[in-house]
């Protein structure tokens, strides 16, 4: 694998090797432990073979078996040290051999009087020759076994990074060390619904743990900033930087919606779940309800939105009030929804509340502001710079709507000049951010209308789990090719406008209970594509002008048969 082999007397070596293998087979079959001389010869033989092939795992195991039986401590120390020298010579020839490193780890851990300082020096030497590989794992073990202080290792990474900012492995090692300096447990997040007890936390993953950071850590940003100004196109520091500023979203029920006249409950989660596993419990006025949860579309075993029907008569008495609670037992969290004397009720956290879309932590707003300033300075010095993506992320964390114009402009620059190779990805990402902004605008306006049409160049739909309450959606004049199965999460939808796209797939228009009007002018739908519409019982108006389907023979009678409820058909 990329190795340069020196040709020696190849054939002679090969013959010798075959001879040794034959001999070893005999010993392996005999396997007699009592004779010490026998062991020596076995060690000799395996040593010669392993020098030629350090990946012969069975032979390392054989040696370990022999070494395990040494009883005298002094003899063991001598032989184990000889083993370490042997391993050094193996590693010189092949520093990437898993077998050798694994064996060295085993030997070091068992040495009666280990010399960890020497092992660290070996690591330093190996890392200076090849600073990206196996040695890091071994170093981690040595550090752990010999209790090297974390501060000392941090200084080590400072030196490595100082001499070479591109050393991604050093940044990585640093990321594992910093949390060790600041262990402290995370505080539970503040309560979201009035009067609710705080949500409990599930144990944090290694990444999230670090985000409860104290002020000292901000000093680290200086090191990172130095790295940017030296070589702004180096990816190492940018990934590390975004990690320092980043955050993870907590798991919760983001919305519970109840339609009293349909006697149906829809629940939206912060991530796709499988509610059929019994982790979701519905309680009405203190009584657990026997219900069957289903995902919005048969395609999804895991879905962010789940629906169930309540037993008939339970909540259709609109003159009375009720209390409904949905418990997500797996995550020890729940959401209450008071049912007033209205046909529908809901309880949710808004996207604005949660700073839902921000990938970076907004806790340190002043820090982010100054970071944005620095990065903008850098961008002025070097306009064609990949830090544009980081600038975009910082802007979205600080003020997504306020920076919308700049964000779009930066995406254009990225796509056309800085990183045109990934322009398709950036288009996709930009679509996502524009949808996020539209959701925010919708919530600030406190309306249930989602409109993103004209000049927006939407290529893809996402965050549909945030649109559970939307009644009207306008996606006209974009570049959409389908309304995917996830679209079925829009359970409150009454009107869909999706003219002037390239839609040929309507899988997501599936059992939408309140859908009345659909406008699909100038798309590329055919009769087969319209099949899912038949699942929507209240559909009464359908505009299909400018679609190939209008050219089909007997189209009116076909559609009358497929969609009997549609009284108002425009072709």
């Amino acid at each position: 694998h990329g190795r340069v082999k020196v040709k020696t007397t190849a054939q002679q070596e090969e013959e010798k090797r075959k001879e040794r293998e034959k001999k070893l087979k005999v010993y392996v079959a005999a396997r007699d432990r009592k004779d010490g001389v026998f062991d020596d010869e076995a060690l000799q033989l395996t040593q010669q073979l392993l020098s030629a092939n350090p990946d012969f795992a069975t032979l390392w195991n054989y040696r370990r078996e022999i070494l395990t039986h040494l009883e005298d401590e002094d003899e063991a120390q001598k032989i184990y040290e000889a083993e370490l020298s042997f391993l050094e010579s193996c590693l010189k020839v092949n520093p990437k051999s898993y077998g050798s490193w694994h064996h060295r780890g085993w030997v070091s851990a068992r040495l009666p009087r280990p010399d960890w300082a020497r092992e660290l020096r070996l690591c330093d030497r190996c890392l200076s020759l090849d600073d990206r590989n196996h040695c890091w794992d071994y170093r981690r073990m040595v550090v752990k076994m010999s209790s090297v202080p974390v501060k000392q290792e941090l200084e080590f990474t400072d030196r490595l990074i100082g001499s070479n900012f591109s050393n991604y492995s050093s940044w990585h090692y640093r990321s594992t060390l910093l949390p060790l300096l600041h262990p402290g447990s995370p505080e539970p997040p503040p309560s979201r619904c009035d009067g609710d007890p705080p949500h409990s936390c599930s144990p944090p993953s290694p990444q999230t743990h670090f985000h409860r950071v104290c002020e000292e850590q901000l000093l680290k940003y200086e090191l990172v900033q130095n790295a940017f100004f030296t070589d702004p196109n180096d990816q190492s520091a940018w990934f590390y930087y975004r990690w320092l500023l980043g955050r993870e979203r907590e798991e919760m029920i983001s919305c519970a919606y109840v339609s009293r006249e349909q006697e149906r409950v829809a629940v939206a989660f912060s991530r796709p779940v499988n509610a059929q596993s019994g982790s979701l419990l519905l309680v009405l006025d203190g009584q657990p309800q026997r219900v069957e949860w289903r995902s919005v579309h048969p395609h999804f075993k895991h879905s962010p939105v789940w629906i169930c029907d309540l037993p008939p008569g339970t909540i259709s008495d609109i003159a009375n009030e009720h209390n409904l609670t949905v418990h997500w037992t797996e995550k020890h969290t729940h959401r209450d929804c008071a049912l007033y004397t209205r046909s529908e009720s809901w309880c949710r956290d808004t996207a604005t509340d949660l700073e839902l879309f921000s990938e970076l932590s907004v806790e340190k707003t002043s820090v982010l502001q100054s970071e944005l300033q620095s990065v903008n300075q850098l961008q002025e010095l070097e306009p064609l710079n990949k830090c544009l993506l980081t600038i975009i992320l910082l802007m979205r964390a600080l003020d997504p709507l306020g920076y919308e114009k700049e964000t779009l402009a930066h995406f254009q620059t990225l796509k056309q000049e800085v990183d045109s190779m990934r322009s398709a990805y950036y288009s996709d990402l930009c679509s996502k951010f524009m949808i996020e902004n539209t959701i925010l605008k919708m919530e600030y306006a406190e309306v249930r209308v989602f409109s993103i049409s004209d000049r927006q160049n939407l290529t893809t739909l996402c965050h549909l789990d945030q649109l559970l309450l939307v009644t009207h959606i306008n996606l006209s004049s974009n570049q959409l090719r389908r309304l995917p199965p996830q679209f079925a999460m829009l359970q409150c939808l009454e009107v869909v406008e999706a003219d002037n796209n390239s839609i040929e797939n309507l899988e997501g228009v599936y059992h939408l209970p309140k859908l009345e009007e659909v406008s699909l002018k100038n798309n590329i739908s055919t009769l087969a594509d319209l099949q899912p519409l038949a699942s929507c019982p209240k559909l009464r108006r359908l505009d299909l002008r400018g679609n190939p389907v209008t050219q089909t023979a007997n189209v009116e009678s076909e559609l009358a048969e497929l969609l009997p409820s549609v009284a108002d058909l425009l072709l």
Binding site: H1, G2, K5, A10, E14, R17, E21, K25, V28, A52, N53, P54, D55, F56, A57, T58, N61, Y62, Y98, G99, W101, H102, R132, W136, D137, R140, S166, N167, Y168, H172, Y173, S175, T176, S205, P206, Q207, F210, D231, N233, D234, Q235, S236, F239, Y240, R242, W243, R249, E251, S270, R271, P272, N274, H302, P304, E359, M421, R422, A424, Y425, D428
Partner: protein, 367 residues
Amino acid sequence: MAEEENQFEEFEQIDFLKDRHVRFFQRTLQVLPERYASLETTRLSILFFALSGLDVLDALEVVDSKVMIEWIYSQQVLPTQDKSNLNRGGFRGSAHIGIPYSTKGPGVLHPYDSGHVAMTYTGLCSLLILGDDLSRVNKEAVLAGLKVLQIEDGSFYAVPEGSENDIRFIYCAASICYMLDDWSGMDTQKAIEYIRGSLSYDNAFGQGAGRESHGGWTYCAIASLCLMGRLDEALSPRELNRIRRWCIMRQQSGFHGRPNKPVDTCYSFWVGATLELLDVFQFTHFEKNRSFILSTQDRLVGGFAKWPDSHPDPLHAYLGLCGLSLIGEPDLRKVHPALNITQRAFQHLQQLQQTWRDNAGSCVGRQ
């Protein structure tokens, strides 16, 4: 390090020399050069590269399937009369330990004979590619041999006596269970925990917890989760988006495996297939990827190398072809991104699995 633009190579129409690659793999199957001697213990995996490579090239007719199938089965660790060696089951890399040649039981007990998880994986794949029906695979032994390899933290050893343990062998285990349609050979929940624990701060996967993100291990993680059918359960949408971003950023012309490393042909598959499994491969730049892979093509000997102007080897030859297949190179068969065999071989597997299910069902309700 600034990305280098090799302008004159950018859209050059480089020829794809299909015949050379067929001959390269044919030679691989006949004799390997002396420098490959150290790979003797993993010989079966090299066979897999050659066979699957020929399959992608739609050139399996040059292979004597019968002979190959027999050789593969001779690497199976067969249960002894008293079945005392079941937990050493699986396939060997080759006959280097010295077990006498045998393709049917009962087996011979030998203190150092055991399967190797990566050889079991490539062995099963190779049999499928050759059209075998796996009827001579002793599933009981293979799964028993697999089960003992999994340790407390959810990862796997390669062999029962112990070895290093990491995410590569989880991938092998998941593939084995998937192919045999039997997940009793592993604790998937524990494996998922290990995989999640390997997610690094920059949103890709290392070989294990605390280790550096890497394109190859990210492939192992994502492919394993897909084979288990647990991708959306194990990773949140935000995590998945960040993983997509990290992977997309690996393209420089071809792909590299880690930031600030040179591009290497094999990552066109490891990272490319990961992006395909995550549904965003269409956002990569196909032309640049193709140009790089073909720049590592050996025009004389056939095959591909990791870098331009280096010696080709079976691994890079095979993965280079898979990388080209992902971007839709004409004349190449499509590859199943999670299982790493052609879609044709995968369909053969699906038919076999249907037959197994039908047979299991037909015991009940026979008229």
